[in-house]
């Protein structure tokens, strides 16, 4: 018997760590992985609520989130390959064409 808010606290911590990784890392692939970490944290909260309210819709949403994450990974990694090809760098701070 584990209270729901244990899962929610873990989800919040994982989300915060994902945000920290998103802000502090410079490699675009790692930044992309931190987005996946945040999506995973949200999935954990979805499943926890689904079990707490005894309602299966939360788990269906998790499946949809996973599908969207897969599509996002395919398109995003294509974009990363293009960036590497055009700028010869994976550092996001070297992709600054729009910066004043």
């Amino acid at each position: 018997m584990i209270p729901t808010n244990y899962y929610l606290i873990l989800s919040a911590i994982l989300f915060g760590l994902g945000v920290v990784a998103f802000i502090f890392r410079r490699n675009i692939i790692t930044i992309f992985m931190s987005i996946e970490l945040m999506l995973n944290a949200v999935n954990l909260a979805f499943v926890a609520f689904s079990q707490a309210w005894n309602h299966l819709s939360g788990q269906v949403f998790v499946l949809f989130v996973i599908v969207v994450a897969a599509a996002e990974a395919a398109v995003g990694l294509g974009i990363i390959i293009l960036i590497q090809r055009n700028r010869q760098s994976l550092n996001v701070e070297r992709v600054d064409l729009l910066k004043l």
Binding site: I2, A12, R25
Partner: protein, 171 residues
């Protein structure tokens, strides 16, 4: 202290350590392996909650397919250790306080939530996959069909983006 609670804390510790390792490692391949550890630990938590189908999908799609895609791209681009640059002082000074504030807001929302939410026990009953599939293919059948269209668009988009010989590609 009963057994499910111990399992929960062990898996939660593994997940948090994996996430910290994702931040800490300098090389993207090490970050990717840390992320796989987090995903497997989360799949264990789903099993603990009785969401067995979601746990299986988590392992197969996230830990398998998506992370293999990441590792493949890291190897394809021969990504080395991260280059440390500090062009953005905003991220350096305001990043950590804002991230901590966001996490604090989320934790405060959890503590301030309805009493029933906080104390609702995870009984660990297995959500039958049969009921889940009935819900997916009856109530959510139109969103489900839309996701197949989304995947089709993503496949075409990835193929167009990764085309090699395009003359006008100026990013």
């Amino acid at each position: 202290m009963n057994v499910p609670l111990i399992v929960f804390f062990a898996l939660a510790a593994i997940a948090v350590l994996g996430a910290v390792s994702l931040i800490w490692q300098k090389h993207p391949i090490h970050s990717a392996l840390s992320l796989i550890v987090v995903m497997v630990a989360l799949a264990g938590l789903y099993l603990l909650m009785g969401a067995e189908f979601v746990a299986a999908v988590q392992i197969i799609v996230y830990g398998g397919a998506i992370m293999v895609l990441f590792v493949f791209v890291i190897m394809l681009l021969n990504a080395g250790a991260e280059e440390r640059t500090n062009f953005s002082s905003l991220a350096k000074f305001a990043g950590l306080p804002l991230a901590v504030a966001l996490t604090g807001c989320l934790l405060a929302a959890v503590y301030g939530s309805h009493e029933q939410v906080q104390t609702a026990a995870q009984a660990g009953v297995t959500a039958p996959t049969k009921a889940l599939s009935a819900q997916l293919f009856q109530e959510f059948v139109y969103p489900f069909e839309l996701t197949s269209f989304l995947i089709l668009v993503a496949i075409i988009g990835a193929m167009v983006l990764a085309q090699r010989d395009r003359k006008e590609s100026h990013l």
